[in-house]
Symmetry: C2
Subunit: 270 residues, 2 copies
């Protein structure tokens, strides 16, 4: 299978760098073909702007969505954007690996999402009307592919627990897992999260690699998070709220996860 | 009073540009002194990297936290970072204004947070031990100041409702309001959110300005979101989970909001 690893850490001689190297080796050892987008090494341009289209009038008003649509449809996207889209189309699975900075992905990776996720590619796909709200949340260009986060965090696991001060890790990651990965169609696997990164000795690193290795071995077997597809009946359209009869007692992020999965819960570390 | 408006939109001739101009005028008209950090106009460097310190050995291993600490303590930060820190210290109130892109702030603004929020300035402040977990979440360098988000979103308000497909807006914004603003000490006011930005005519724009104007007039009167302070007894230290007797039935983001506030709920639009 083809795996794209998008990696965002500025220092190769870091825990993240070591884990990136481990993952590439493990996946290649299992016979997969791996490509790495090392955003810092590529000097990835983080800020979405008018320069992302190669053919604009200098004084034209810039509209992030409409300019993206025009450039995508007419083949006038900046070359770095088109190359990353090609990698996504090539991949059977996407891994986003990054340190959790201020409870989200690093800016350079956020900018990869904003620029690569063009209108017509990752959003604005399919029929948009008051009866059908596009191919998204379970449908879309990247449907049929799998995605997984590999995240390092300085805080303790308890700080990200159900009543931990930073908020539960599943909720902290929801805007990424649901809003960025599930949105254009990916099946999203449970994340692999490493906590308390300042206290990692040889033994702990070895244990982390064992656990991560198993997750990579099971990339095509692990049941995805059962997010609810938008267009399969659970939501009223165009309000896009859950129908009153769907988990009527629930609200918030967790309400968008159904009970359909049969697999046991999968945790990041044993 | 002094207001710092950090603004992240690439096109001045946009809804965001118009609202920025409106806000500056309204605040100045009320006698406040306003400074604007227009990140796109400033060509703000979004990606945190080794270049953020002016005195590094070229071959030294880069550690985002330790390098930030060293540069901050020794006055060797990149000048653009130090200037923004000075603006934050000068300000009595901070407004972050941005379009919601992929359920978070634009990369250029995320990069402002990552680079300006240095170790020793916005985190790593105060005593860190197993008995006390630093001055953060309600304490810290920016305590006593107020902060508010002004956010535009393409989706409908119902899409961000309690059972809306994108998740409730308060939860979508929690990593920013709690994790980025409350963390270094800000009192965080309820956000001002504008939905369905592609459908704004003159009449609606006028109504938005009226509502935003009232929020700006009330910047020092609006009750902040009653996030729970870390070091006032609600949390076990060092686990940093809510004590069993504090809202025992609650978990998730909402558990970190207490019931102490006496003011009525404040909504973005009437």
């Amino acid at each position: 299978m083809h795996v794209l690893l998008v990696y965002a850490h500025p220092e190769p001689r870091s825990l993240n760098g070591s884990l990136r190297n481990f993952s590439v080796g493990r996946l290649e050892g299992a016979g997969h073909v791996v490509r790495v987008s090392d955003l810092y090494a590529m000097k990835w341009k983080a800020s979405l702007d008018a320069g992302d289209s190669t053919a604009r009038q200098a004084d034209a008003r810039f509209d992030p969505s409409l300019d993206s649509r025009r450039a995508f449809e007419s083949g006038l996207q900046s070359r770095d954007i088109a190359l990353e889209q090609d990698k996504l189309l090539w991949a059977d699975a996407l891994i986003l690996q990054f340190p959790l900075w201020w409870f989200s992905m690093p800016a350079i990776l956020k900018g990869w999402v904003e620029r690569v996720y063009a209108y017509g590619f990752a959003y604005g796909v399919g029929e948009h009307s008051d009866a059908r709200w596009g191919d998204r949340y379970g449908e879309g260009t990247l449907a049929g592919k799998r995605a997984m986060l590999v995240v390092t965090a300085g805080g303790w696991e308890s700080h990200y627990g159900p009543r931990g001060i930073n908020g539960p890790i599943d909720d902290v990651l929801f805007p990424i897992q649901h809003g960025i990965l599930y949105y254009p169609g990916f099946d999203v696997l449970p994340p692999f999260v490493i906590y308390r990164t300042s206290r990692i000795d040889e033994a702990r690193f070895s244990g982390i690699c064992d656990a991560l290795g198993r997750r990579l071995d099971d990339l095509w077997k692990t049941p995805p998070i059962p997010f609810r597809p938008q267009n399969a009946g659970a939501y009223e359209i165009p309000a896009l709220t859950l129908r009153p009869d769907v988990s009527p007692e629930q609200s918030g992020f967790a309400a968008h996860i159904g009970q359909e999965a049969t697999g046991a819960p999968v945790s990041g570390l044993p």
